[in-house]
């Protein structure tokens, strides 16, 4: 019993320290954006675009394939479970499942798997190889040069990935409905259109923003914690993935709950 309490205490202490670090990093980024003195905007813009290319553009095939398949599977299950009733509800089901929930969640998983791990590894390696120190010695703030472009690039990529997933997920669902029951795509799309509200769009975009920001900052923080030994690197990456997954699921639940309560 005592051990369990102590374990929970340690977890709580670690979590609050992590929340503090996330807060401080966000504060540093916001301060930098509000007062970009000493910031080489052209260079930061170029690095941000590189991050968008890696995190967003290169993830499009994976997002497209998973969105189409998940959209199709969602309709397959709905049609087989609800039989005739389903046809009227297909629009709402696609919006509810794809736009509100699965789109942002799967995009976040892809972002964590492809970019979060890469970022934690890269920043951890920079710490180990003295690259971080060299930047500081030449008065290049690592927050400007390393963190800001990566966070901005990942948030922008997450937005694009979620929009891409939502659109292709709905199209995949429509395609499956056409294949299984011969329902015309125009009819289905009009049902999706009438089911889609501003609140749905706000929720999916809010989740994209919050998840992208969370995954980027947590990956950076775990990478920055590496110092001294190369064996710390894989542990930092594993911890970054776990923290990102838990953080995304918790925030997803909170945003969804807030959406229904409000």
């Amino acid at each position: 019993m005592q051990e369990s309490v102590m374990y929970l205490g340690r977890v709580a202490a670690r979590s609050s320290a992590l929340v503090g670090q996330v807060y401080r990093l966000h504060a540093a980024l916001i301060t930098k954006l509000r007062s970009p003195r000493g910031l080489n905007i052209e260079l930061v813009r170029r690095l941000t675009l590189n991050q968008v290319l890696f995190s967003g553009v290169q993830a499009v095939p994976l997002i497209a394939a998973s969105a189409t398949l998940i959209g199709g599977v969602a309709i397959m299950q709905t049609v087989s479970l609800l039989s005739g009733l389903a046809y009227e509800l297909i629009g709402q089901i696609l919006v509810g499942i794809i736009v509100r929930e699965i789109g942002p969640l799967i995009a976040a998983v892809v972002l964590i798997g492809r970019s979060g791990t890469a970022m934690a590894t890269e920043i951890g390696s920079m710490r180990l190889n003295g690259e971080w120190d060299a930047l500081k010695a030449y008065r290049i703030d690592p927050v400007d040069f390393v963190i800001l472009p990566r966070v901005a690039g990942m948030v922008a990529s997450m937005f694009c990935m979620v929009v891409c997933f939502d659109v292709l997920g709905i199209l995949g669902g429509c395609g499956m409905a056409l294949l299984m029951k011969g329902i015309s795509s125009a009819q289905l799309l009009s049902r999706v259109g009438s089911a889609l509200t501003n609140a749905d769009l706000a929720v999916t975009l809010l989740k994209a923003l919050v998840f992208g920001e969370l995954v980027a900052t947590l990956s950076c923080i775990y990478g920055m914690r590496v110092h001294g030994s190369p064996t710390e690197l894989p542990r930092a990456v594993t911890r970054a993935v776990v923290a990102c997954m838990v953080g995304v699921l918790v925030l997803d639940s909170l945003i969804t709950a807030a959406f229904y309560i409000l």
């Binding site: 260079l43 190889n129 003295g130 690259e131 060299a134 008065r139 290049i140």
Partner: protein, 229 residues
Amino acid sequence: MSLLEFRGVGFEDGEHAALRGLDFSVEAGRRLFVFGRSGSGKGTVMRLAAGVLEPGAGTVRLEAGERCLAPVGYVPREGGMLSNLSLLDNAVLPVVYHKMMSRDAASRKARSWFDEFGIGSQALKRPAEVGVSVRRLALLARGILAEPPLFVLEDPLSEVDAAAARVIKSVLERISQEGRACLLAAGSLSPFEGWEGSFLFLRGGKAQFYEDGRALSAEKDPEVRACLG
């Protein structure tokens, strides 16, 4: 005029060697050799001087002028270059970042230094693709390009080949002649035999200062003498 001044500097974080009450200064055009056995805190002093670490106690003051955007030419013993950039891009990064030069002008100037150092053909390679000697020379070129008033070099002659050592020595001579200050860390002073400068011996986090080579050669302490080579 003191370019760098350590006053009562203490440092302890568990990762780097501890320092206690360190006092010294480096004047313009002067050299200060920091020496001592492995783990004595040479690297910590270098990182504090370069502004990479913050002192736990006391102050490290760098008098570089307000307009100096890269006040220290930092040449670490290992690493220190961005692994995803070429040697040339690494060399021009500080001056381009701080907009001290256009990218083209900085690249031309860096190329001329690379050619003078005999590593021009390796300029577009990444740090992992070249040896220690080439990397060290590229780090030196990066420092020179930024035109800082103070150079901080960790064991600049260790693990480099004879040709690179000759180049590094001649560059260090030129740096002093131009009135820039140099802070050099070395495990052994034998590669710098005959060089003028002051000396700081580190042991157990404390420092012993020697004004010049004569004062140092009069020292009888066996641990100090062991570092003289």
